[in-house]
């Protein structure tokens, strides 16, 4: 057999190259295996019947007409499946006494949000299923719905009457109690300056590109589920646990998945339902959602009220930070719903040296779509709050906001640095990133222009916004997750298989949904094994191929999954070594492995050595191996990180605000991120740009709005104003590099960085443009109307009290309130409109 040609020994340095992504042609052209492209013999199509009301008792469901409709094979209601469907899993009960209602896939006798499934129709075609779904006649008896977060926290009405309260759990971290810092209350008491603010994190919708879709085939020995999911491994386990099916009888496949942003980090009612209907009918079943169904019923993100109290000395040194959150769970707890705000618990202190810190979060139920992970999950909320607060502190002190940050941040000499939360930041250089960002931005010139515009009373005012952020990513050390009551670990698994032809299969448990793992993993393995980039095939997302893994979220893939791949590749080399030594008639200890070849140390540059591909073929034949050698070079590795990774960066944004209309326009955006070493700069750029747009969108455009009946009125892309490229500018991006010390590559996560950092930079810039009118906060998204009203309101002298009277804890003011609705009066007829902005 001479099929294999050993590569010439030339250096491969794939890591660091801006390789075009291997997967893009098929992903971009769509000529690939999306779940909805699956067609199976005899397949049925499902359509969900959803509740149009937010909270009601189901008093009757008549499915007769639907059953009789053309092409219909089955109609199932909650009554039909109540003993089969179990309760949808929540893997993260944050406290021992956390309260939560059962979470049925199909509501049985009560619906708790508008959009909840009440019945499912299976029919021969998708059209027949949709037609029949509309014939299912449901009687609802309305119950009082609680929609507003603060009203819910006050138990004004109950989202789930049986729970007796809307408060699910309260989670507290206190640095004095933990012994990681001082007492916040003392810090506040002794402070020269106390800044108190209340911010609103509006509700957002992940709005991934590919709507969700699930196919279940019950006809083989194992049930096979294809699903547009980020978490095939977790899904498989949870299906088994929820439905009482043997895990070994379930195979889950995430084929190509078109984005998730956390929105597909879920075990969905529809996955359970598709499984149940397939089992019930004995036929393959497919469910694919429409976009409006997706906006309505796929989980939402953010939705918090944040109260912040920051204590500082007169010279600007921060002395304490107190964080009190109310987090809207929506109607149910999804896979990690309660833990999302807790992922921010250790991040509000950010890059600053607060000696005292207190964090308390109360999770609250409302009759809305449930919330869960959305890009950044917990950390954007934290970053927004602290970066807004640092600006507020600067305003109180009458100082430049960058200068105040610089005074308080961890300097590069201080790494590794243990924070007030007890986390150890491994590396970073905030000075360097900031220096570079200011230079690219033209900070001083823009400040001068801002001054000129202010002085001339220009209609268009300029504002500069800063966000010097850090985040913790690379979820996560299993021990830490355990201490937070999370239901699983944070390790990742990989295998490297050497094929007889010299090709390499890499199996990763980290299942990508658009991030470019196939390319990055190929680059890593090409370097490790010295094989061509093209010869590496990356397999993932099928639990029968990649039998073990914890999937993709929390910027974990490269720092955890990538390290697992490296560990597996190293094992391959170790396994090959005895054979190489045998062939070279040398001692194992005298061998070197470089560029895909074993050579004998000190035997000169012109020795031929033996290549890995040749060894793979020799192992396949197994005709002539050293005694006792297992005929395989394949290796597995499971890696559990010891620490998070802490990327950071300095983001600077300039916004122009048209003071006549309130419209704002982005003038420039510069970010310098430090994400450690980089495997593929092109992929990094893609992640940063996409992240920036999503974060900017929270600042300016997106909001999930409910009316007073609990109907999602931003329920299509007409009203959920997702930006497009036409709405964004060219970003200026650059990097500084402080390699991470917690993995071999020295990399940190980048998947969420842009989204975490950008929101406060934009809002700070908008505010900076109009502070002179007495404005100190604007609700997100900063719509033209809100900006305009803030200016009107501020000019009328209604601005917030400042430092002197800040101690009066959150007196009845109304920061962050929507403008009142209109009360048009014509003649004797008055119209009250209670809808609109919720």
């Amino acid at each position: 057999m001479t099929a294999v040609d050993d590569r010439p020994a030339e250096a491969t340095h794939e890591v660091g190259r801006d390789r075009r992504r291997k997967e893009d042609q098929r992903l971009i052209t769509g000529r690939t295996r999306w779940t909805d492209n699956m067609q199976l013999q005899g397949m049925l199509h499902l359509a969900m019947v959803r509740s149009p009301v937010a909270h009601a008792r189901i008093t009757g469901i008549d499915t007769t007409a639907a059953r009789e409709s053309t092409g219909v094979i089955a109609v199932l209601t909650g009554q039909d499946v109540k003993d089969l469907q179990g309760s949808l899993p929540c893997a993260w009960p944050i406290t021992e006494d956390q309260k939560a209602p059962p979470h049925p896939a199909i509501a049985v006798d009560r619906v708790a949000f508008s959009g909840e499934v009440v019945a499912v129709v299976a029919a021969r075609t998708a059209a027949a299923a949709r037609d029949a779904a509309e014939l299912v006649d449901v009687d609802y008896e309305d119950l009082p719905a609680v929609l507003e977060l603060k009203a819910a926290a006050a138990d004004e009405a109950l989202a789930h009457p049986d729970l007796g309260t809307n408060r699910s759990a309260t989670w507290i971290f206190d640095s004095a109690e933990a012994g990681t810092g001082g007492s916040v209350d003392e810090a506040i008491r002794d402070a020269d300056v106390v800044v108190e603010r209340e911010f609103r994190q509006q509700r957002l919708i992940p709005a991934f590109m590919e709507p969700r879709s699930t196919v279940v085939d019950p006809t083989g020995e194992q049930f096979v589920m294809w699903s547009a999911t980020q978490v095939p491994h977790i899904l498989r386990l949870m299906l088994a646990m929820t439905l009482g099916v043997d895990e070994s009888k379930v195979r889950v496949v995430a084929p190509d998945v078109g984005g998730g942003f956390g929105g597909k980090l879920q075990v969905t009612p529809e996955e359970i339902i598709t499984f149940l209907v397939a089992r019930h009918t004995g036929r393959p079943c497919k469910w694919t959602e429409t976009r409006s169904e997706s906006l309505l019923s796929a989980h939402h993100g953010r939705d918090q009220w944040q109260k912040l109290t920051l204590a500082a000395k007169q010279d600007g040194t921060v002395t304490g930070l107190k964080v009190e959150l109310l987090a809207d769970m929506g109607a149910y707890l999804g896979l990690v719903t309660p833990g999302v705000p807790i992922l921010g618990a250790f991040m509000f202190n950010s890059i600053y040296k607060f000696p005292a810190y207190h964090f308390a979060c109360t999770n609250v139920f409302t009759n809305k779509t449930w919330t869960d992970a959305y890009r950044g999950a917990g950390r954007p909320e934290a970053t927004f709050a602290i970066e807004r607060m640092m600006d507020e502190l600067a305003v109180e002190l009458g100082r430049d906001p960058m200068e105040v940050r610089e005074q308080n941040w961890i300097t590069h000499e201080e790494f590794p640095f243990t924070t007030v939360c007890g986390l150890e930041y491994d590396s970073g250089n905030y000075e360097a990133a900031t220096e570079r960002a200011k230079e690219l931005f033209g900070y001083a010139e823009l400040r001068a222009e801002q001054q000129r515009r202010r002085e001339s009373g220009d209609r268009v005012q300029l504002g500069l916004g800063i966000s010097t952020f850090t985040e913790m990513c690379g979820l996560a050390p299993s021990r830490v997750l355990g201490s937070l009551n999370y239901g699983a670990g944070g390790w990742e698994h990989a295998s490297v298989r050497m094929l007889p032809t010299g090709k390499v299969e890499v199996i990763t448990g980290s299942s990508a949904h658009g991030q470019g793992h196939e390319t990055a993993w190929s680059q890593i393995v090409a370097d490790q094994l010295g094989v061509p980039f093209e010869d590496v095939e990356v397999l993932h997302g099928d639990t029968q191929i990649s039998h073990k893994g914890l999937d993709t979220y929390g910027s974990r893939s490269l720092v955890v999954g990538g390290q697992a791949v490296i560990n597996a590749a190293k094992k391959v080399i170790e396994k090959a070594k005895p054979l190489a030594a045998y062939q070279l008639e040398a001692n194992v200890d005298d061998l070197e492995f470089t560029d895909g070849k074993f050579t004998v140390k000190g035997a000169g540059a012109d020795q031929e050595g033996v290549g890995l591909a040749g060894l793979a073929l020799a192992v396949f034949a197994a005709h002539d191996l050293p005694d006792g050698m297992e005929p395989s070079l394949d290796a597995d590795a499971t890696f559990d990180p010891v620490n998070f990774s802490f990327p950071h960066g300095t983001h600077l944004c300039a916004m122009e605000v048209d003071t006549e209309t309130g419209a704002s326009r982005m003038r420039s955006y510069v970010c310098v991120d430090d994400i450690g070493n980089v495997v593929n700069p092109l992929i990094v750029e893609g992640q940063v740009h996409g992240g920036l747009v999503q974060g900017i969108a929270q600042a300016l455009w997106e909001e999930a709005v409910y009316d007073d009946q609990g109907t999602l009125v931003s329920g299509s892309f007409v009203d959920y104003t997702l930006p497009t490229t036409a709405d964004t500018i060219s970003f200026v991006t650059d990097r500084t590099t402080s390699p991470s010390t917690s993995n071999d590559l020295g990399v940190k996560g980048v998947g969420e960085a842009g989204c975490i950092a950008s929101t406060p930079a934009v809002v700070n810039a908008v505010l900076d443009a109009i502070r002179q009118y007495g404005v100190d906060d604007i609700l997100m998204p900063c719509t033209p109307e809100r900006v305009w009203r803030a200016i009107q309101h501020g000019q009328a002298g209604a601005s917030r009290p400042t430092a002197e009277d800040a101690a009066g804890h959150f007196a009845e003011g109304e920061p962050n309130q929507d403008p009142p609705g209109p009360a048009g009066v014509t003649g004797a007829t008055t119209t009250t409109q209670e809808g609109g902005q919720a």
């Binding site: 509309e134 009946q709 009125v713 007829t829």
Partner: protein, 149 residues
């Protein structure tokens, strides 16, 4: 989405005569734009409402009844509940009538409110607010017309 409209007008007829007309459910129900009353008793009525608006054409089927009726005080509350065809969601309306003598005639106070849930509210670009406003306006206009005309 909820809308409320308050309307006051005066009628030449006495409160008694006006009351008789106003509590005729067939008449009141039929005043809703696009409504057809299919059956009516003294207490309740059933019917459907077709809302046609440019490209939109939706039908609600439902029933209405008195939830409160005080023939002495001339005060009544009528509630209607409609289920949208084709999985549309629900619509409900509540009409509160109060008559008071005024000079020779009667002063009528009509408060109507309407709730719409489901697709029309979800997809409406907010237009449903304007629409329900308009429907309620036409409704009270019709009632006024019946009484004064």
């Amino acid at each position: 989405m909820a809308m409320e409209l308050h309307h006051t007008f005066t009628v030449a007829a006495t409160p008694e005569d006006t009351w008789a007309l106003l509590t005729d459910l067939e008449q009141v129900g039929g005043c809703f734009p696009g409504a057809t009353v299919t059956s009516a008793t003294d207490e309740e009525f059933t019917g459907n409402v077709k809302v046609k608006l440019g490209p939109i054409g939706v039908t609600y089927q439902g029933e209405g009844r008195f939830v409160e009726r005080d023939d002495e005080a001339h005060r009544a509350v009528i509630e209607g509940l409609g289920k949208g065809l084709r999985g549309l969601g629900n619509a409900s309306a509540k009409v509160t009538l109060q008559l008071k003598p005024e000079g020779e005639g009667t002063k009528a106070d009509v408060t109507t409110s309407m709730n719409i849930t489901g697709k029309p509210a979800q997809f409406g670009r907010g237009v449903m607010q304007t629409v329900s406003d308009k429907l309620l306006g036409q409704f009270v206009e019709c009632i006024e017309g019946k009484l004064t005309g």
